[in-house]
Structures are given as C-alpha cells and as structure tokens.
Amino acid sequence: MTDASSARAAPMTIAAPRTATRRLRPSGSAVVMGLYLLFLMLPIYWLLNMSLKTNAEILGAFSLWPRDLTFANYQTILTDPSWYMGYVNSLIYVVMNTAISLLVALPAAYAFSRYSFMGDKHLFFWLLTNRMAPPAVFALPFFQLYSSIGLFDTHIAVALAHCLFNVPLAVWILEGFMRGVPKEIDETAYIDGYSFPAFFIKIFTPLIASGIGVAAFFCFMFSWVELLLSRTLTSVDAKPIAATMTRTVGAAGVDWGVLAAAGILTILPGALVIYFVRNYIAKGFALGRV
C-alpha cells in the first residue's frame, strides 16, 4: 500500500500551467475566420463610413474614414417623420406578423409532431411549398386582393402577406423542437388532469421556449428583410423604411449620405435582436433537427 500513502503525503505544489503556452500557437482557423469576418464587415464598414460623411466628401476625395465627421445625415432621418415613420411602420408589421405566425403555427406544429392523421404528410409538404412560393408570383394578386377588401396600405395587410412564407417556416421549426420533447410528458399531464389548453400553455410552451424564440427570430428576420410584398401593398400610411429609402434618388442625383445613414439604421434592429439571442443562435439554426 505504498502507492496510496505516497499519494497522500505528497504536498500540493502548484506548477506553472502547461496549457497556457500551448494556446498561443498561431492557428490556421484564426486566419480563415479573420479573413471571412473581414469580408463580412468591410461593406458594412463602408456604409457606416459614408453615413458619417458629407455628400461633398463622398463625391470628392476618396478616404477610408470620414475626415469631416458629420451626423447631419442621421439628423435628417431622425427629425423627419416621413423618414422615421418608415421604421415605425416596418416594426409594426414585423411584430404583428411574428405574433400571428407563432399563434397559428404552435397548435399546427403540435399536431404534426404528435399525431398522424389523414393527409398529414401531404399537408406538411403543401405548407412548405408556400415557403417556396416566389413573392414575385404573389405580388400582383395580393395587391388586387387587399385592395378589394380595403386593406391596401395597412400594416395588417403586410403582416398577413408575410404569413405566406413565415407560417410554414414557423411550423417547420416548431415541429422540429416539439419532436424533441418526449410524448410521456403529455400523457403524464393528461393523467394529472390537465385540459389540453392548460397543458399546452402551462407545461408544453415553457419546454419548447427556445424553439419559440428561434421561430420568432426567423419570422422577425424574414419579415424585416422582405421588400417586394411590403412595397407593393403600401403607399403612404404603412410604407416600410426599405421603400422609403428609394426617395434618396432625387432630381439632384442620389443623396448618398442619407441613403447610407438610412441603411445603417435598418441594420440596427437586426443587430439588437441578434445580441439578445446570441446564445441560442448555434442551436437555433439547426432548427431543432440536430
């Protein structure tokens, strides 16, 4: 039993950690990632750079950073209602769309993940085909449909139109996450006397919270970035920021500074949303299918 006693008697000395020196090796991964991130950031940096310049500087001397720093472009946007209402309009219909998409997708995804019924597989694929439908195909019919029922140029019209591709996506994502929840949980809840709605809201929803978050993220994303439908369905009252940006092309040429500033401001909501969900991105992007 000599081994044991020597292990016991040895005093604890703390040597210099060996791992620290090994981490400092220059790695190919860092180079690849560095180059890729640079590729991603450069165009955005350039937009930011331009948004902080005067038009004279933009068109005049070519410079890598603003020599004559100005916030006038941002001022123009944030003080003019016809500009900043574009952001408000966009945000309104995006939030409406996300809420509607999730509300209808949740029960449907549950049905697909738990039950088999007549035509379920075909129905699922048919839903997905709507995600595949080119918005260009629907632009004109939507215009006529919403005009005829008096919804043209309202937020709800855009929100409903975006459901075309967001509802199938939400169903698809949520179904993936719900499949990961064991069916025994449902059965136990029913045995414990929960009604279906009570079970769904109190027990099931918290279990797939991350899935709902991911679905919401994707709905937000695709509704926020879409232009063709939102531009077709609005004229003044619900005009999205993306459409407002075309205004910068005037008789006197393009107002580059304001255009760039408006562009930067459209990136901000997305950046904010990403910041909040950054810890779920990796798992979330797998749509619950890993």
């Binding site: 039993m1 081994d3 292990a7 040895a10 000395t13």
Partner: protein, 364 residues
C-alpha cells in the same frame, strides 16, 4: 505493452489554479505494472476520466510527467502512444460497414490487406458480430455499436495499453457479463496493460487484479480487492466498497493503555494492537465483522430493522448515536434480546482524519 509511470502528476482545468481545490486531479505518483489489469473506481466527478485522458494523451496534465517504459510521453500526441481507448458511449463511424469500422485503425497505420482481414475476422468472432460484418454501422443497436468500439480497441494487438472508460454503461446486463469475461480472457491471452474506469464496484472487483480507488481528485487506495475489503486505507473506500458500506464510530484512543483501547461513547473497545493518532479519530468496522450480543461487554445497541436479502440478513441497528448495519449469515440466529454489539478483532480499522492508521505492530 508497457509499464506506465505517473510522476508527480496533477491536473487543473483552470489556466491559473489558485489552490488544491482547483485541481480535478491532485498530485499523484504511481506505476502501472506492465501487463496488469487495473480498475479505476470512484464516484462520478472524482477525476478518474481526467486521469484516463491524461494517460491516453487526450489531455495534457498541468504538471508532472507520464512515462511509458521510462520514455517521457507527457506531451506526445495520442497517436504516438499506441494505446487503444473505449468510451462510455459507442463511437462508431456511421457511414462505414462494421468491417470497415474494425479495419479503420489498422488501415490508418498502413497495415497490409491480408493481415487486416485476418485480424478483423478474429475480432469479429470475439465480439460475436461475424454475421453483421457487412452491415452499415448506422442503425445497429447501442450495444452492438459498443461492441464495435470494443472491437476497434482490440483489433490492434500490439498496443501499449487498453483503456476503458465505463464501456459497459449502455450494454444489456447479460451481455455485460459476457463482454467482461471476454475482456478478462483477452487480458489473459495477450497480457495487455488494461485500465478500466468504472463507478460500479462489482465490475471493478471482478475485472481487475488491482483496484485504484479515487475520491475527490485523489487516489485514496491501490490494492487487490481483498485489501480494499479488509484494510480500507480511507473511510471513503470503506464506505464506497462493500454493501452496505463500513460502519464508522467516532472514538478516542485510550492513552493509558498505549492506544490499545478506544472509547466509543461510554463503551471501551479492545483494539488488540497499539495505535497512535492525532486529529479526528474513528473506528471503522465492516458489517461483516459486527457481532450481535445480549448483555455483557460491547456498545449498547437497538435493532431497528432486519432485511433478508437472500444469502444473508442485513440488521440495521442504532448504536453510539448513529445508524449502523450488521451482516448475519443465513444460518445464524439473531438473538431476540440483542442489546449490545461487539467487533471481531480482525475487522477493526482505526482512522485519523479519514486516513487509516497502521497499528504499531504492522509494517507499512
């Protein structure tokens, strides 16, 4: 095959550990003799997987050296060490057939096709998967997959050591026994140095020549199954090995008798040999060595419950302010008026601050 020496080894997952408590593996010196089968036993999180990964080279220890036959391999990559390791969960290459899976480690080492085929056939027979050799590994059951993992470890016959990290967790109970027997036979036939990590004492005691018990990042005892049973070096070993575990009584050594007696509560126990110890002194007695008595000497005790578990009975008692257990053979009677317990002298161990104190007469 090799002798593996751990020299002054310790590991912390933190870059800058501040004290012993930051170490997942506390300082350790040990020789794993060539060709022996060891079991590394401990509760989960005790550092046994850390130790295994250091030996296999998946982890570089933050201090100390690992030597294979005297050669320093501390920072050598896994591939250079020529070891095989089987993991807790089956690791198979899904897109390959069973045959390709088994051949993979040999193929990577550039072995010639005929020799690969011969060994694969042999290992397939050993793990009883000859019929499935040309099936894709994807879609096999968990224990079939684990058998493939075992097979990939065994297919290389010249390995320095075979390491097993709780390999039978996902295997069916009857298959478990069979595979363990296979492993023992393999060890017998080829004489590989084997290190088998487990938290299951039965697995450890039946598999290994020597059992290494770990607790809280420290090796607390290395010994034969018999050593661990009769002379647990640490109270953890006493408690962890054996079912039920060792009974421990707070005690004071009686200085007037040169430490030949200990006082437990109001009773005096004859230790038969002199002991000297400082710190928190405990007397440990396995349930097998507790005798029930009515009247006379001994520690006052009351029976609270009797469990019949087949070959013997477990008697639960309350004595010296704590709950203890005693094992009584099937044929033995339990006195109805039991109110005392005594200890069989050969089963008494004395502990100071959880470590066993050798009696004055026993050489260390």
């Amino acid at each position: 095959m090799a002798r593996i020496t751990l020299d002054n080894l310790a590991h912390s997952y933190l870059t800058y550990p501040r004290g012993p408590e930051d170490f997942a593996l506390k300082e350790l010196n040990h020789d794993w003799a060539d060709g022996e089968a060891y079991a590394l036993l401990g509760a989960s999180g005790c550092g046994k997987s850390t130790l295994l990964n250091i030996i296999s080279g998946l982890l570089i220890p933050s201090q100390g050296r690992v030597l294979f036959d005297g050669r320093d391999v501390t920072t050598a990559p896994t591939a250079e060490r020529n070891i095989a390791q089987v993991f807790q969960f089956p690791v198979v290459y899904d897109t390959m057939t069973v045959r390709q899976n088994l051949a993979f480690p040999l193929k990577n080492r550039g072995m010639e096709a005929a020799e690969i085929a011969r060994r694969v056939q042999k290992v397939a027979a050993m793990i009883d998967m000859e019929a499935q050799l040309d099936r894709k590994a994807r879609g096999l059951t968990a224990d079939a997959k684990q058998k493939i993992s075992l097979g990939r470890g065994m297919v290389r016959e010249d390995v320095n050591a075979l390491l097993f990290d709780e390999p039978l967790t996902v295997i069916d109970p009857h298959m478990k026994w069979e595979l363990r027997t296979q492993l023992k036979k393999l060890h017998h036939d080829f004489g590989h140095t084997m290190i088998y990590v487990t938290h299951d004492q039965t697995e450890a005691l039946t598999f290994a020549d020597k059992v290494v018990v770990m607790h809280d990042g420290r090796v607390v005892q290395i010994g034969t199954p018999q050593d661990l049973f009769e002379r647990p070096a640490h109270t953890f070993v006493g408690y962890f090995i054996g079912s039920p575990g060792m009974n421990l009584f707070d005690a004071t050594l009686d200085a007037t008798s040169n430490g030949r007696h200990a006082r437990i509560g109001d009773a005096t126990v004859d230790l038969t040999q002199p002991y000297a110890a400082t710190g928190r002194v405990q007397v440990g007695v396995r349930p097998e060595f507790i005798r029930l008595a009515a009247g006379g000497d001994g520690i006052p005790a009351q029976i609270t419950r009797i469990e019949d578990v087949g070959r013997h009975k477990i008697v639960r008692l309350h004595a010296a302010g704590r709950d203890i257990s005693a094992l009584i053979g099937e044929g033995e009677a339990i006195p109805a008026d039991t109110d005392r317990i005594t200890f069989a002298p050969q089963g008494v161990n004395v502990y100071a601050d959880d470590w066993r104190v050798a009696p004055g007469g026993e050489s260390r």
